[in-house]
Each structure stands twice: as C-alpha cells, then as structure tokens.
C-alpha cells in the first residue's frame, strides 16, 4: 500500500461508490465514443482498403480484422468478469459485482462473433465449417460458460446470492482460458498457431499488423462503452431504493 500514490487510492475508493461511478461515466462517455469511432474508422480503412492482399488467401484473410480482435476480447472479457467476480466475493464491493455480470453478455457476443466469422472463413480455406479440434471446441465451451453465467444470474431472484454464485462459476471456468490460448501449441489442431503473440517477431507483415492492432484497440473501447451502459442500468436497478437514486430522479423531474 505504501507504493501506490495517494491520489490513485482516492480515485479507486471514489469509483467504488455507485453515485460517483454513475456521474463520472456520464462525463467520459462522449470521449469514449469519439475515440471508438476514430479507431474503428482508421482500423477498417487500413484493414479493408490500405492493407495488401495475402500471398495465399487473397482478400479472404481480411476477416481477421473482425475475427482475431473478437477472439482476443472473448478471453479478455472473461478474465475481467472472473477477477471482478473475485473482488466482489472477497471485498463485497457492489460495483465489482455489477461490472462482472454486465460483462457477461458482451463477452458472449464477442465469442459468438469469433466462432461465426471463423466458420465463414473455414469453409473456403480449410474446406469445412467446423471441426472438433482443441481450439474450436474450447472456444465453444467458453461460449457455454458465458451463457451459463447469464442463465444462473437470471435464475436467482436475490441478486446478492446470484452475484456470488455467478462469481464462483466464472472462477471455475478460468481454467479454460489458458487452454484456449495454448490449445494450438499443446495439441495437433486444424486451427493455425499464434501469429501476433509469438515470442519472437510476429509472422504477419507490418502493413497488415497495424490495422489489426487498431481494430483490437477499438474493440476494447467498444467493450468499455457497452460495459458502462449496462453497468449503469444494473446499478440503478439494484440501488433503486437508495437515497442517491431518489435524489437524482427528483432533480431530473423538476
């Protein structure tokens, strides 16, 4: 605790309080949207127009500008969901529970997009829509984990208990994340090995890599935007009887 600057700790405590989170996210939202639109525009223009065609796949490879960032996000969001779930379990911070459950539908969507775009690419390139190899199967299990989290949360009426159960389910599922990432190295798979995250230099040409990284960043911003919107609604639902919500509503009605 001595190493963390005082201002950061104060920021953390303020953000953990629902009224501050609600007000702060309202202020930063327009900026997030502007950055997201700029990044997506630049990424898509670079990826679909500026980047050259691949020496083997021609233009078909351009689906990586959606497929790869979605697949990365599906893993990233799961980790956010599990870690905030654990924080909610251990420290009983309400906002962490809200962030955790609000992440689930967004993560499920990204997983679904990664599976569908991969399948569309697989048909012409591999010659099949789907194979039960380790990478594809573990990614499908990830989708089921997300759906399980959403379903479990919806099935329990008491949202305090629901948050705890969901956090435990999410934490058990964490074991799947390294399996997905390393599946292409541990086992023979039809899916190709890692391109960008290799330890030595990435095996993708720099003119194709830059739009890919832009798209990856833009998806991160999309996630933050969607997460904030979901978390705000979830917060209002949970805190509907608290003083700050009532004050805010009466102020708006005047």
């Amino acid at each position: 605790m001595f190493l963390v600057p005082d201002i950061l700790i104060r920021f953390y405590h303020r953000m953990a309080s629902p009224p501050h989170f609600y007000a702060f996210t309202q202020q930063i939202m327009p900026w997030l949207v502007v950055i997201f639109v700029l990044l997506t525009g630049a990424g898509l223009y670079g990826g679909l127009y500026l980047a050259p065609a691949d020496y083997q796949q021609g233009d078909s490879y351009r689906i990586i500008y959606i497929h790869v960032p979605s697949a990365w996000m599906s893993l990233f969001i799961y980790m956010v969901m599990a870690i905030t779930g654990a924080i909610g379990l251990i420290w009983r911070i309400k906002l962490a529970e809200v962030i955790s459950i609000s992440s689930a539908p967004i993560g499920a969507s990204f997983t679904f997009i990664a599976l569908v775009t991969g399948s569309l690419w697989g048909k012409p390139m591999w010659g099949t829509w789907w194979v039960w190899d380790a990478r594809l199967t573990s990614e499908l299990i990830l989708l089921f984990l997300y759906l399980g989290v959403i379903g479990l949360y919806g099935a329990i009426d008491d949202k305090k208990i629901a948050s705890k159960s969901v956090a435990i389910l999410a934490l058990v599922g964490v074991v799947n994340i390294p399996i997905i990432h390393y599946s292409v190295e541990w086992w023979n798979t039809l899916h190709q090995g890692p391109t960008v995250t290799k330890m030595d230099k990435p095996s993708i040409h720099v003119s194709m890599l830059i739009p890919l990284l832009l798209m990856a960043l833009s998806f991160k911003f999309y996630y933050v935007i969607a997460l904030i919107q979901r978390a705000r609604v979830e917060l209002l639902k949970r805190e509907r009887n608290s003083q700050w919500v009532k004050t805010m509503l009466s102020e708006q009605q005047q």
Binding site: Y55, L89, I90, V131
Partner: protein, 147 residues
C-alpha cells in the same frame, strides 16, 4: 486486510488452484484423444488404428502431386519431415491445398499402407504477408542457396 477477507481470498485461491490441477490431470489422461490428427511418423510406426477412420496430418511434398487417371483422383505424399505416407483422394480439394502446404485428411489405410482419404482439409499456417514480400523472400533464399 481483515481476517474474514483474508480467509475468503485464501479459499478462492485454493479453489482456482484445485480446479486447475484437476483439469490438468484430466487433460493429460485424455491427451491422445485431444490430438486432432496423427502424424505420418505415427502411421509408419503403426500407432494409427488399423480398420477405423482416422485423421492424418502433414505437409504435401513438393512435386509429389499426381493424377494417375484423368478423373478426380489425386495421389500425393505427406511428410512430417521424417516419414512419408502416400495418400489417395477422389474429390474436390480446398482452395489452400497446394504443394508445400500442411493438410489434414480423414480416411483409412488400405492393405498396401496407402491412406485412402474421404475428406481433405487444408491447414493454414500462421504467416500473413503481401505477395511481393513472399516473392522477395523466395528470391533471397534462392540467392542464399546459390552461394
């Protein structure tokens, strides 16, 4: 940290570690089933099933692709850079099928040790580059061989 929180933190860490170890053992015992295909060395060593369908993966050897009859039947050799297996396939090959490319074929071995494929899938590699770069890489490696 308060004792109650510390206890919960330890409990949750133990749970995650426990699940990881259990999954690790499960995956280790199912390791062979998780392999999507057999390599050509496995087949030559007799590890592949004799009468059942299985998948065979490897690199198509350059210059080995031939069409013995005028039909759709293709014959080629697969390698994992140690042992070779001959494959016969009748049907339409995927876009990425070419010599020097990795593929996965589903089928059976016949009595002569030739793999009769019912399905051929191309395994794409992880390299992405524009055609000009590929060409210059090729030129460089040819220059390197000449020296």
């Amino acid at each position: 940290m308060k004792p109650a929180r510390k206890q919960r933190l330890i409990l949750i860490s133990l749970m995650v570690i426990g699940v990881s170890i259990a999954t690790g053992f499960a995956l280790k015992s199912f390791n062979d089933n998780l392999m999507y295909f057999f390599s050509t060395s496995d087949v030559v060593a007799g590890k592949a099933p004799k009468d059942n369908l299985f998948r065979l993966g490897g690199m198509v050897i350059k210059g080995s692709v031939e069409r013995p009859n005028d039909g759709l039947m293709v014959r080629f050799k697969l390698t994992d850079f140690s042992k070779e297996v001959t494959v016969e396939y009748t049907g339409i090959l995927p876009d990425l099928f070419r010599e020097g490319q990795g593929i996965v074929a589903n089928g059976k071995l016949n009595a002569q040790g030739v793999f009769i494929a019912e399905e051929v899938l191309a395994k794409h590699d992880e390299n992405y580059m524009p055609p000009e770069v590929k060409q210059s890489l090729k030129n460089q490696s040819e220059k390197g061989k000449g020296q």
